[in-house]
């Protein structure tokens, strides 16, 4: 590439003023900023001693839950949209014929591998019946990989745990056939 190539844009460096050439005024300026930060309140949360404040739990992407409808049944209709949307392929559903008249299918088993999940929230976006939602539980731990695969019962129990703090987006079950 030649230096007179029209694609090269030569940019002049900014000219330094007297203060810039003398260094020390700028140095004092830097020291002032550092000093201001030194006494500023800390932004780090002292985690195990104090819990971080989650600004809006309704949009936080933590552990999943499976919502129940007003009769206490699982809301999911086993449409597989969440499993299709999932970029990490961590949702595993076995759908069978529903025993209830208001839907055709329901999940016999519904498991999410929480270790594989990237907590992107696509499943929540994809769900047509608002059955799967992400809660604000963030400190998820386990002793084995198997333990971290959450089955239907566990996901429903997450709902039972969090339903008061984080109400469902749509409470009623409205499935258009």
């Amino acid at each position: 590439m030649k230096s007179d190539d029209p694609d090269i844009r030569w940019i002049e460096p900014p000219k330094l003023g007297l203060a810039g050439k003398m260094y020390l005024p700028l140095f004092l300026q830097g020291l002032r900023i550092t000093g201001k930060h030194l006494i500023a309140p800390k932004v780090t949360v002292n985690y195990p001693d104090e819990e971080p404040e989650i600004a809006n739990p309704l949009i936080y992407r933590g552990v999943h839950r499976l919502n129940r409808d007003d009769q206490g049944r699982v809301k999911c209709v086993a449409c597989f949209l969440c499993a299709t949307a999932c970029p990490a392929h961590c949702i595993d559903i076995i759908g069978i014929e529903s025993p209830w008249p208001d839907r055709e299918k329901y999940p016999e088993s519904f498991s999410i591998d929480e270790l594989r999940c990237i907590y992107c929230g696509m499943c929540e976006e994809a769900c047509p019946v608002d059955a799967i939602e992400l809660t604000s539980l963030y400190n998820l731990t386990g002793r084995s990989r198997e333990e971290m695969v959450f089955d239907k019962e566990k996901l429903l129990s997450v709902y039972d745990q969090t339903k008061d703090a984080e109400p469902m987006i749509s409470a009623s079950m409205e499935v258009t056939p």
Binding site: L18, Y23, F27, L31, I33, T34, L38, P41, K42, T44
Partner: protein, 407 residues
């Protein structure tokens, strides 16, 4: 004073000094991490306290944990190194850094104690008339540790790091020496105690010789390899400089030696320019002797607080100023600091001559305000020289490709 008495007192002082310095270096590491964290609005290490208990003590156990970590880490010696030199390098650098403290006073004098014939001076080797030269000689040996470490490692990274470091350390030794020449001229002695006593009577050299302070402290920053001159390490850019191949306790020796250099530098800045253990207005007495235990302890406290403040300043500067490029570093040493140091020496010599001349032209002209006029004149020289240097000497060598050069 008997020989055994002298020996025992000296051994006690050496033990106190080495123990104190090692502990201080460990806790300054903690302070460094705290300051780093606070400046970045983090909390810093605050969890390690008393072992096996729940007491956290604000993280004051951290230095012990850090030290134990270094001791229990695998100490790996690469197969391609020169083993003797590889071992010698950290010992040299730490030994020289510790030995420099032999003539640096860490306090004034203790009042007479019963059973001991002479008052005890709080310095390992009291009354060394060439104290300054001794400190400078030993601090120059640090270059040997650096270059030995880089050479013995038999690694290109280490060797390049060592070359850069030794070039920097040697370049900045000149302004370091020039910066104190004014102080030595004005005092007429190389003894650190004499320099402090002179300042107690005639005002701090920070006020009367600002240019010397400027040159000396910039050079001291470079000698201690602190930001903005930390090219020997430059954590964010390089593998690790001259101690790339070191691990475990040998690396710890290098790191402790670096902190000791910083502590030496702040001792020298305080003793040479900020009056040592003296407070202004004669609060701690003008004499070298002390009147009682209260004054003796007060002097130790004053000296420690001043040194702490200077070290705190070192740590704040680390987060306030970006690192110099290597050519800028060299340009600053040779094009700026060296002429400024020479100018400082000449200016101080002229002022002293005007002041000391038996005809006393200076005294006659200014009368009672002679001292003030001298201070004003030296500040004028400082500001004038700094502005001249800023405008005249292009500290920034622009190495970027220029259109006309390429054509």
């Amino acid at each position: 004073m008997q020989f055994t008495e002298v020996t025992i007192i000296a051994i006690i002082k050496v033990a106190l000094l080495i123990g104190g310095l090692m502990t201080a270096a460990a806790y300054f590491v903690l302070l460094e991490r705290w300051v780093a964290a606070w400046v970045q609005m983090r909390r810093g290490p605050n969890r390690v306290g008393m072992p096996l208990t729940k007491f956290r003590l604000l993280g004051l156990g951290q230095p012990m944990a850090d030290g134990l970590k270094f001791i229990f880490k695998e100490e790996y010696t690469p197969a391609h190194v020169d083993r003797r030199l590889f071992l010698l390098a950290p010992i040299t650098i730490l030994g020289a850094a510790l030995a420099a403290f032999a003539v640096i006073p860490f306090g004034s004098v203790l009042p007479a104690i019963e059973g001991i014939t002479e008052p005890i001076e709080l310095v390992v080797a009291p009354g060394v008339d060439v104290g300054m030269i001794y400190v400078f000689a030993l601090s120059s040996i640090a270059v040997y540790g650096v270059i030995l470490g880089g050479w013995a490692s038999n690694s290109k990274y280490s060797f390049l790091g060592a070359l850069r470091s030794s070039a920097q350390l040697i370049a900045y030794e000149l302004p370091l020496g020039l910066g104190i020449l004014g102080v030595v001229l004005a005092t007429g002695s190389l003894r650190l105690e004499a320099i402090m006593t002179h300042q107690a009577a005639h005002g701090w050299y920070a006020i009367t010789q600002p240019l010397g302070l400027l040159v000396f402290s910039v050079a001291a920053f470079a000698e201690a390899a602190r930001l903005p001159f930390d090219l020997p390490e430059c954590d964010q850019e390089r593998v690790g400089g001259y101690h790339t191949e070191y691990s475990g306790i040998k690396l710890l020796l290098f790191l402790v030696a670096e902190f000791l250099h910083m502590i030496t530098a702040s001792f020298l800045i305080v003793i040479l320019f900020f009056g040592g253990w003296h407070l202004p207005w004669g609060l701690t007495g003008h004499e070298a002797e002390v009147t009682g235990w209260g004054q003796a302890i007060l002097r130790v406290v004053v000296l420690s607080v001043k040194i702490f403040l200077v070290i705190f300043f070192f740590m704040m500067v680390r987060w306030s100023w970006p690192r110099f490029r290597f050519d800028q570093l060299m340009a600053l040493a040779w094009k700026v600091m060296l002429p400024l140091g020479l100018l400082n020496l000449v200016a101080i010599a002229i002022f002293l001559e005007l002041d000391h001349a038996s005809v006393g032209w200076w005294q006659q002209t200014f009368g009672d305000a002679a001292q003030g006029a001298m201070i004003v004149a030296s500040w004028g020289v400082t500001i004038g020289a700094w502005v001249t240097v800023a405008v005249a000497a292009p500290k920034i060598a622009d190495n970027r490709p220029q259109p006309d050069v390429l054509r």
